[in-house]
C-alpha cells in the first residue's frame, strides 16, 4: 500500500499499524505526534490504528524555535 508520510510517498506492506510505521521510521521511542488524514492519533492508539492505502501521515517533533 502507498502512503504519504510528511509529504513524501512511501510503500509499505499491508496491513501495517501506525505503531509499526513508527518503528520502521525509527521513531518508536521518540517524542513525536502522529496525525493521519488530519486527525491526531494518540500514542495509546498507535498499536490499534491500522493504516490504509492512500493515508496521509504527518509526524512532528519539538525543535528549536522562538
Amino acid at each position: 500500500m502507498r502512503l504519504t508520510v510528511n509529504g513524501d510517498p512511501m510503500e509499505l506492506p499491508a496491513p501495517t499499524t501506525l505503531a509499526e510505521l513508527a518503528a520502521r521510521l525509527e521513531l518508536g521511542g521518540q517524542r513525536v505526534a502522529f496525525e493521519v488524514n488530519g486527525t491526531i492519533v494518540p500514542r495509546s492508539q498507535r498499536d490499534a490504528h491500522a493504516l490504509r492505502d492512500g493515508d496521509k501521515v504527518e509526524v512532528v517533533s519539538a525543535i528549536g524555535g522562538g
Partner: protein
C-alpha cells in the same frame, strides 16, 4: 527630603502562569543556536524555567542518533512552551497546538502566535482572536503573542488567555521597546501577566521592559545571535532581575533641574 522627591515602592508578587509559580521572569526561545549544547548552556545561564519550542515535521531517515531537543531540555526540568511560529491562519495555529498537546502528554500551555506578514512578522490580530477563542474553548492555557495595542491586549485577556505577550519590536529585530507608553498602558490594564515577547536586542531593553512593570520577558534572537550567547544569557538574567528590582523599589521622579546630593549646611566657607 520631601515626599514628592521620592519614588513609591511596590509590593512584590510571584509570577504565576496557569496556576504555576515561577522564580525566573526570563523565558527563552530555543532557535538559532549553533548546537543543542549551546542551547542548553544558554538556557541554564539565563536561569529560564519556561522554554519555547517549535513544532515541525520530524526528520525521517536523517540525523539518526542526533539527540532530540527535549532530551537536552527535558520536560521534567523545564516548562515546555510549544509555539505556533510559522502559522499564518487560526486553523494552522490550532492544529499545531493540538499536535503539541499530543506530543507533550496532554500539556495544555501554548504560545499562540498567528502571523500576518513575513516581512514584519507582526501578528494577524483577527486570526489571533479566532484561534484564541477555539483554544480556550478546548482547554488550552494560552500565552498570546500580540502587538502593542492595549485594546487588543484587553480583548485577549477577556477571552481567557493566561498571559498577554505584546511585542517590543518585530521578532528578531533587536530594536528594543518601540512604544513604551503602550506597553505601560497594557501593564496597567491587565489582570493577567504581561510579558514582552520579541524585539529585545540587549540587556538594557530587557531592563526597560521590567521597569515598565512587565511580569517577564521572552526572548530568543537577542541571546542566540549575540557574539557570546551564554554570556548574553547571563546578562539578560541580570537585566531582568535588575529591572524588576528597580520597578519594585520605585524609581525617583524625573526633575528638570538639579537637586544637590550633599547638604548645603555646614559648608566651611
Amino acid at each position: 527630603m520631601s515626599d514628592n522627591m521620592k519614588g513609591v515602592p511596590r509590593a512584590d508578587k510571584p509570577l504565576v502562569i496557569a496556576g504555576k509559580t515561577y522564580r525566573s521572569r526570563l523565558l527563552t526561545g530555543t532557535g538559532k543556536y549553533a548546537s543543542h549544547e549551546e542551547t542548553r548552556l544558554a538556557t541554564e545561564a539565563a536561569g529560564a524555567e519556561i522554554v519555547t519550542v517549535a513544532i515541525r515535521r520530524s526528520n525521517i531517515g536523517q540525523d539518526k542518533g542526533q539527540p532530540n531537543l527535549l532530551d537536552v531540555l527535558p520536560p521534567s526540568k523545564y516548562t515546555i512552551l510549544p509555539n505556533t511560529a510559522g502559522c499564518y491562519t487560526a486553523d494552522d495555529a490550532v492544529r499545531t497546538c493540538r499536535l503539541a498537546r499530543e506530543l507533550l502528554d496532554g500539556a495544555t500551555l501554548v504560545k499562540l502566535e498567528v502571523l500576518g506578514d513575513p516581512k514584519t512578522l507582526f501578528p494577524d490580530v483577527e486570526q489571533t482572536l479566532v484561534a484564541t477563542r477555539t483554544l480556550v474553548a478546548e482547554g488550552f492555557e494560552v500565552m498570546v503573542y500580540t502587538n502593542d495595542d492595549p485594546i487588543i491586549a484587553k480583548r485577549l485577556e477577556e477571552l481567557g488567555v493566561v498571559a498577554v505577550m505584546p511585542l517590543a519590536a518585530p521578532i528578531g529585530s533587536g530594536l528594543g521597546i518601540r512604544n513604551s507608553y503602550n506597553i505601560l498602558t497594557i501593564v496597567e490594564n491587565a489582570k493577567v501577566p504581561v510579558l514582552v515577547d520579541a524585539g529585545v536586542g540587549t540587556a538594557s531593553d530587557a531592563a526597560v521592559a521590567m521597569e515598565l512593570g512587565c511580569d517577564g520577558v521572552l526572548m530568543n534572537t537577542a541571546i542566540a545571535a549575540a557574539g557570546d550567547p551564554v554570556r548574553m544569557a547571563r546578562a539578560m538574567r541580570l537585566a531582568v532581575e535588575a529591572g524588576r528590582e528597580a520597578w519594585l523599589a520605585g524609581r525617583m521622579p524625573r526633575r528638570r533641574y538639579a537637586s544637590a546630593s550633599s547638604p548645603n549646611e555646614g559648608l566651611s566657607f
